[in-house]
Structure formats: structure tokens, C-alpha cells
């Protein structure tokens, strides 16, 4: 059974204080690791897909990295508008559906 564990559950940062969110996973055949951002009361919004260990993707203040057991979402010099819940999910070569973690709720204070 695929498992995705995200840590921490919640993170409070000061504006400009860089940090990382962790996504640990176990999957029988990885077919993509996905990061989403979700604002309160809205559906998740796609950020990145990573397919193989060593791959990195960047978008503005966010950078996602992947190893064989975990992924990190690095947030550099965050701003209050980066406050959201960040979800991680894995795809499995034998399944059509993604398996999601419970998310990390990020709050960036001015």
C-alpha cells in the first residue's frame, strides 16, 4: 500500500525566513511525485511534478527536490502570500489514482 507522510503538520515563518517542507513516501513503483498548493476553501492548485531521484524544479520562491524516499519543498524568503496548505502526492505505475499526504499548513507572518 502506498503511503505519503508530510511534516511538519503546521509551520509558522516570519517573512523572509527560509525553510523546507518534507514529504516521505513509500510506493511500489513511483510514477511521479506531485506538489500542490491549496488555499482555504479552494481546490488544490498544481505546482510541480518530479519523476526521478535527483530531479529539481523551481517556480519563483519554491524549489522541489526528489530522492528515492522523500521530497522537499524549499521556500526561499517567503512572503505572506505564500501562506497556504501544501500537499504532496505520489503516482504508482499500477494505479490510476494518486495517493496524497495530509499536507503542511504554512503561515508566513509579515
Amino acid at each position: 500500500e502506498d503511503q505519503v507522510t508530510q511534516s511538519p503538520e503546521a509551520l509558522r515563518l516570519q517573512e523572509g525566513e527560509s525553510s523546507s517542507l518534507n514529504c516521505s513516501y513509500t510506493v511500489s513503483g513511483l510514477r511521479g511525485l506531485f506538489w500542490y498548493r491549496q488555499d482555504p476553501g479552494k481546490g488544490p492548485e498544481f505546482l510541480f511534478t518530479l519523476y526521478s531521484a535527483g530531479e529539481e524544479k523551481e517556480k519563483e520562491r519554491l524549489k522541489a527536490t526528489l530522492t528515492k524516499k522523500e521530497s522537499f519543498l524549499h521556500i526561499t524568503a517567503p512572503k505572506p502570500e505564500d501562506s497556504a496548505t501544501y500537499l504532496c502526492a505520489v503516482g504508482n505505475t499500477g494505479r490510476r489514482a494518486l495517493t496524497f499526504g495530509s499536507g503542511t499548513r504554512l503561515q508566513v507572518q509579515p
Binding site: Y36, G41, E45
Partner: protein, 112 residues
């Protein structure tokens, strides 16, 4: 801009009612999914469909059914709503098994 549209943002229904949640996508995607999202439990898969009239149970199908009569539309049905089905319901679609989802905005359902 490609879209997944859920028909209602907020719904309040009474216990025992039959409830229909509708989802439409305009991307010609084969795969469509229904999840519910609850605090501390994350997203849990209810049902999914990989083609018209084809469906498979997810991890928590009890109390739910689905219908996919047209490729663009995937409906979630609560046969007899109960208070433990109060939740945020998210619809998603996906073109290929290697690609990510596009989500709708969600339906916040309250059963009283």
C-alpha cells in the same frame, strides 16, 4: 484556460436526502476522480472513472455511487445523506496516468 467545474460551492442537505454532486471538465480527459477532504485525514479517494460508463471503487466508497454517462461529466451520488458525510468534496481529472490532476474548486457539503 482549462477547467474542472463543480456545480456548487456550498450545499446544505438534510439527513436521508439523495444528493448529487456534479463535475464537468473541458480538457477531454479520460480519468476523473472524486475525493473527500477532512481535517487531519487528508484527501481520501471515493470513486474514479477511466472511461465513459466505467468506474472503480476507491478507498472509501461506502454510502456513495457515481455516474459517468458522458466523457466530460462525472457525478457523485450520496444515496441517503448522513451527518458523517459532511465534508469538502473535490473532483479532479487527469489525461494520462503519468500526469497530475486538475482539481475543481470543491463543494462544501453540510448534512444536518
Amino acid at each position: 484556460d482549462v477547467k474542472v467545474t463543480q456545480s456548487s460551492r456550498y450545499l446544505v442537505k438534510r439527513t436521508g436526502e439523495k444528493v448529487f454532486l456534479e463535475c464537468v471538465q473541458d480538457m477531454d480527459h479520460e480519468n476523473m476522480f472524486w475525493y473527500r477532504q477532512d481535517p487531519g485525514l487528508g484527501l481520501r479517494l471515493i470513486y474514479f472513472s477511466y472511461d465513459v460508463k466505467m468506474k472503480e471503487k476507491g478507498d472509501i466508497p461506502e454510502g456513495y455511487s457515481v455516474s459517468r454517462e458522458k466523457k466530460e461529466r462525472f457525478s457523485l451520488i450520496l444515496e441517503s445523506a448522513s451527518t458523517n458525510q459532511t465534508s469538502m468534496y473535490l473532483c479532479a481529472s487527469r489525461a494520462l496516468t503519468g500526469s497530475g490532476y486538475t482539481f475543481g474548486s470543491g463543494t462544501r457539503l453540510t448534512v444536518v
